[in-house]
């Protein structure tokens, strides 16, 4: 049994399953039927610090659409990409304070039209699916808000026989 392969397949299965999921909360984003998912993570900082960190790291939509972020009266951040009458994707991040100083729940909801042939081809050359890209963005905000940096192993040495 190659456990590494099993883990990779579990991760991919999770991504595919997440892509099929349609939480009720996602529908108000205004896109029906496409790819929808939700990521949620708790940070130890207050909601305003989490929101400020998000805006600093991602002044625009973190899904590579380049859409502008808007702030709602409840403090959530949202974006909508594509034509006004036919949006391609939309997302919203809410910041829900927890009791007893336990921090803030950051909840990211996303809805996007399923990619056509061109979109699918683009996904092969752009870094990751929306599921993965937005999960990464959410965790980047958590890491920076809590520690001031994002953990990394980039540029670290490896043996000369590394093939990957």
């Amino acid at each position: 049994m190659n456990t590494g392969k099993v883990l990779r397949s579990l991760t991919l299965r999770r991504i595919r399953r997440a892509g099929r999921r349609t939480p009720g909360e996602v529908q108000p984003l205004g896109i029906r039927g496409g790819e929808t998912f939700e990521h949620v993570v708790t940070v130890t900082v207050p909601a305003d610090v989490a929101r400020t960190t998000w805006r600093r790291l991602f002044p625009q939509a973190p899904d590579h659409s380049g859409a502008a972020l808007t702030e709602a009266t409840d403090g959530s951040l949202a974006w909508r990409a594509g034509r006004a009458n036919r949006p391609q994707s939309a997302g919203r991040v809410s910041f829900e304070p927890l009791s007893h100083g336990r921090g803030t729940v950051m909840r990211l909801r996303y809805a996007g039209r399923r990619p056509g042939a061109v979109g699918k081809a683009l996904r092969r050359v752009t870094p990751g699916t929306p599921w993965r890209t937005l999960r990464h963005a959410l965790f980047q905000v958590k890491h920076v808000a809590e520690t001031g940096e994002v953990p990394t192993t980039r540029h670290q040495p490896t043996g000369e026989g590394r093939t990957q």
Binding site: M1, N2, T3, G4, V6, L7, R8, L10, T11, R14, T42, T44, R102, G103, R132, R135, F139, K142, H143, E146, T147, G148, E149, V150, P151, T152, T153, R154, H155, Q156, P157, T158, G159, E160, G161, R162, T163, Q164
Partner: protein
């Protein structure tokens, strides 16, 4: 620099690789003076830990001198002599604030892989697969240490490297295992595995008030080392462990049982043979014979403490037995940062001498041979230390 790299089952190589550099503001670069091979490194060597990649630098027990620091590094300065815990922790998250350092939320860059395997990701570790962060390890001349303002412990010049090196992992691991037993006066602790962690668990159990410790293994020189520390011993090749423990504890069973063996358990019973066959066919990763025996042997209402590493899914676990006897199961990677300082003080006072387990002193170039010796217990090998600089 020179570093020990993993290339597959039974294939460690000492190679020349690029030096590490500072990547993040809280990093430090440590020039390694002394490093060691851990029993859990043998799980990598034997190919039981998934998500390793060829060329990965291994090793998670190391210490040395700080030679460079990131711009936000407030605790360490160049020239400090430090021991580095194998678990990497941020000091800021929900778990670090509760001193559950090995469960840190912010130090595993590959948390997505760990989440797929475990639901939630533990912290990153040095040199222990990409599922646990993919960080380059400490069997090298230099190491980049992330969040170096949290983990590394400065050590006094009055203590030499060999006295403090094991604060990086195995001494706190043995100590935490004994601590998890919540010992009371008169308690009897049974400890499976007389390797380095088992040896420190024996000594820690006595330090924490155990009246008697019974050590179980089948390697005579390791049992002799356990006896040196005051333990009674049981050789599982010669005796039925359950019956012997029952006899030695007045028919009640040990108050606590420590599994310091983990996923590569040996044994001669039917279940141990079954495990070996399934593991040889790569149908399971973990051989749970010791854990089953500990659950069977422990007294009612007792505690099973598991410092031995498990990686995957266990087969034929006697949960009904554990449930019916009301056992408490405690396990997990060591929260090294919590225990390092008190243990440093104990070493300084002479309560415990970590050097007692060192049997071999070698160099990084000799690492492939050292792994082979440690795995096959050649020349009564119990612990290999490699002096680097």
């Amino acid at each position: 620099m020179k570093a020990v790299c993993w290339y597959g089952r039974g294939d460690m190589r000492t190679e020349t690789v690029p030096d590490p550099v500072i990547e993040n503001p809280r990093d430090a670069i440590v020039r390694v003076t002394t490093t060691a091979i851990c029993g859990s490194d043998l799980h990598l060597y034997d190919g039981y830990v998934p998500t390793m990649k060829k060329g990965d630098i291994v090793g998670h027990e190391f210490m040395g001198e700080v030679v460079d620091v990131g711009r936000d590094q407030k605790k360490l300065k160049v020239g400090d002599r430090v021991v580095v815990p194998f678990t990497i922790a941020c000091g800021n998250c929900f778990y670090c604030k509760r001193e559950l350092w090995s469960l840190c939320d912010n130090t595993n860059p590959n948390s997505e892989i760990a989440e797929a395997a475990f639901g939630y990701s533990p912290s990153g570790y040095f040199g222990y697969s990409h599922m646990f962060g993919g960080y380059a390890g400490g069997q090298a001349e230099y190491v980049r240490v992330p969040f170096a303002d949290v983990g590394p412990l400065k050590v006094p010049a009055s203590l030499d490297d060999e006295q403090v090196l094991f604060l990086s992992d195995i001494l706190p691991t043995g100590y935490q295992a004994a601590e998890a037993c919540n010992l009371h006066a008169g308690d009897i602790v049974a400890i499976w595995g007389c390797g380095p962690v088992g040896q420190f668990a024996i000594r820690s159990a006595f330090l924490l008030g155990a009246e008697r410790v019974i050590a179980i293994d089948n390697i005579p020189y390791r049992l002799a080392k356990a006896e040196e520390a005051g333990a009674q011993t049981v050789n599982f090749d010669d005796e039925d462990v359950f019956e012997r423990l029952k006899e030695l504890t007045g028919g009640r069973g040990p108050d606590s049982c420590i599994d310091a063996v983990g996923l590569e358990a040996h044994g001669v019973s039917l279940d141990a043979i079954y495990d070996r066959v399934k593991a040889a066919a790569r149908l399971v990763t973990d051989r749970a014979h010791v854990l089953r025996q500990a659950i069977h042997s422990c007294r009612k209402g007792g505690t099973i403490s598991v410092p031995g590493v498990y990686a995957g899914v266990l087969d034929k676990m006697p949960m009904g037995m554990a449930f019916s006897k009301g056992l408490t199961l405690r396990m997990g990677q060591t929260h090294v940062q919590r225990i390092m300082q008190p243990l440093l003080e104990r070493i300084d006072r002479g309560d415990i001498d970590p050097t007692t387990i060192i049997t071999h002193r070698m160099t990084l170039d000799e690492a492939p041979k050292a792994y082979e010796m440690f795995k096959h217990r050649v020349d009564d090998c119990l612990k290999v230390v490699m002096h680097v600089h």
